[in-house]
Structure formats: C-alpha cells, structure tokens
C-alpha cells in the first residue's frame, strides 16, 4: 500500500487456504483482503466498506469454518460481525449492544467450542464474556469484578483444558490467572509477583506443552520466561540479556 491512508488492521486466514492474509482498512472505510503466498501478493479483494462510526475491534474465527471474521464496534455500543468466507463477506449481523463503559479487551475461546468469544471490561472493573457460536451471541456472563488496580494483560489457555484463561497484573506487581471454563470463572489466583523493572511482553506456549507461558522484559535488557503448568508457575528463568541499546520488537 503505497500511501498512508491504508492501515494494516489484522493478519489472519480469510481465504481458507491455510496461509495468513493481510487485512487493510482505508481511511474512507473500505476493507481489503490481500492473499499473500510465498511472500507474493496473489490476490486482493474488497470485503465491504465499514460505515462511519463503526470501528475495527478485532479479527478472529467466530464461526468455526477455520476462516477469520471481523468484529466491529459502533460508537453507540453496538457490536457487529462480518463473517468472512473465501476472502469475501458472507454475512453481516449485529451481535448485541453494550454501553460505552464496556470495552472489548480480547477475543478468544472461553468455552472450548473452537470458536472465539468476546472478553469485556467495564470502566468500573467488571469483567464479562459474550459467548459466540456460529456467528451469533448465545450467552453473556459476568465473570467477576476485580478492582481497577488489576490490569488486564492477555488471554491464553494456561491449564490445557481447551478454554482460554485470563492473565491479570496488579499495580503492586502481583500476577494472577483466572481459569475460565464455559464462560465462567472456575479457579485460579495469584501465581507470583513481578518486580517493577519487569514488563509483561506476551503470553505464548513456548515449550509446546499446550499451556501458555509468560514472557517478561526487564529495563536492563534481560528477558525471562515463566513457564506455566496447570495455571500455576512451574518454573521461572532468565533467557538471556541484551546488552546495549537493544529493544525487543517481536
């Protein structure tokens, strides 16, 4: 895209070929899929034009067809889903509405049905999940009400039950996991405390055991990994230290 009017808003498989594609949005609302294979652009298709006041929220698979869809939020609180299939817009529907005090924090699978759901946080701290199945809202639940001293970090499956869990950090450095099943809080708690020189980088399964781990970066260049097993801290180790003016970018 040879100008700055296009934003790269997501990368995911929108064509069902197993390759990641690139989703672009133009300042005028147009949304475009680039089909990239082997580093070459092999196809480009216009999905649709997002009307004014609808903002991109996230992209994930909400329908179980192994192709990513696109989630939108209106200024008035409505949430809409574009179902994408074979690089084209297959359906578009409003899922529901949540007042502006609710913000979408993440989309992930919180009921182990292989389809993404929506994680919400209210300005007052409350946490809610919308379970989505085949592109429709099937259940909403209040998961808990942590104080705003607890900051949402990420979601990943920390216990290998197929349902993604929620990672939090308190202003004092404590780190907590909420184990989620069927859209509800079923366990978890504080797993450890991180000193203030350590910043959360990401959750990923670094050891291939099907349970997410946590990567931290220190102001002194060290990177450290917390290996999580059954939603508890199994091992903490420094990977290495980048000495000098290095910053982690990916």
């Amino acid at each position: 895209m040879r100008n700055n009017l296009w934003d790269l808003i997501a990368t995911n498989d929108y064509t069902g070929d197993g390759h990641a594609d690139v989703l672009w949005q133009h300042a005028d609302g147009k949304v475009l899929v680039w089909d990239i294979r082997g580093g070459a652009l092999v196809g480009s298709s216009l999905l649709a034009v997002a009307p004014d006041e609808w903002r991109f929220a996230d992209s994930n698979n909400f329908t179980g067809d192994a192709q990513a869809d696109v989630l939108w939020r209106h200024d008035d609180g409505r949430v809409a889903l574009w179902e994408v299939s074979d690089g084209a817009l297959a359906a578009s529907a409003v899922l529901g509405r949540a007042s502006a005090s609710w913000q979408i924090r993440d989309t992930n699978d919180f009921n182990a049905d292989g389809q993404a759901d929506i994680l919400w946080r209210n300005d007052d701290g409350r946490v809610s999940i919308w379970q989505i199945n085949d592109g429709a809202l099937t259940a909403t639940s209040l998961v808990g009400s942590p104080s705003n001293a607890w900051r949402f970090l990420d979601t990943i499956d920390f216990n290998g039950d197929g349902s993604d869990d929620i990672l939090w950090q308190h202003n004092d450095g404590r780190v907590a996991i909420w184990e989620i099943s069927d859209g509800a809080l079923v366990g978890g708690g504080v797993i450890a405390q991180a000193r203030s020189s350590w910043s959360f980088w990401e959750t990923r399964d670094f050891d291939g055991d099907g349970q997410g781990d946590i990567l931290w970066i220190n102001t002194d260049g060290r990177a450290a990994l917390w290996k999580i097993d059954d939603a508890t801290l199994a091992n903490s180790s420094v990977i290495a230290q980048a000495l000098g003016a290095w910053g982690l970018i990916a």
């Binding site: 990368t11 990923r204 291939g208 990977i239």
Partner: protein
C-alpha cells in the same frame, strides 16, 4: 508478540538496536539456542506484523515504511532468506 519458528516448542524473538541492527534469538523450550544479527533496517521502517506467508509454520515479518510501502522478510530456521 514473538515469532512462531516451526515446531510447537520453538519461537524467535527479534530485537532492534538504536543503530538499526536487527537481531534474532532462537528459543527452544524457552531456552536460547542461537542468536545472530540479521540485517540493518532504517528507522523509517516499522515492524508491522508477523505472518506466516509461506505456510511453513514459521512466521515471517512485514515491515512498513513511513511512506506506506511494505517490505517482507521470509525467515527460515532463524535465517533471513529473502527480503523485498
């Protein structure tokens, strides 16, 4: 974000030096097994996305220039195979 590197227990981290050098750390089971300088990239380029465009299970890197241009790095086994 970090980069998927093939096997489920392999991931890569990318670091950028103030002078533009890009370094890669290759991790297996969360342990550093190799590190190398890949290339030098001007500050007008920002890392835009990690995306597996070749279906080899190894994520590649998309860079975006301040003027909107895109550049693509294909990474295989921690080596920069092609850029364009």
């Amino acid at each position: 974000m970090s980069l998927a590197a093939g096997a489920s227990n392999e991931r890569n981290l990318l670091w950028r030096h103030e002078d533009g050098r890009i370094a890669i750390w290759e991790l297996t089971n969360g342990v550093l097994v190799e590190n190398a300088i890949l290339e030098t990239v001007g500050s007008v380029w920002q890392l835009s996305a990690a995306v597996d465009c070749t279906c080899d299970g190894q994520e590649d890197v998309l860079w975006r220039h301040d003027d909107g241009r895109l550049s693509y790095w294909e990474l295989i086994d921690g080596d920069l195979i092609s850029n364009g």
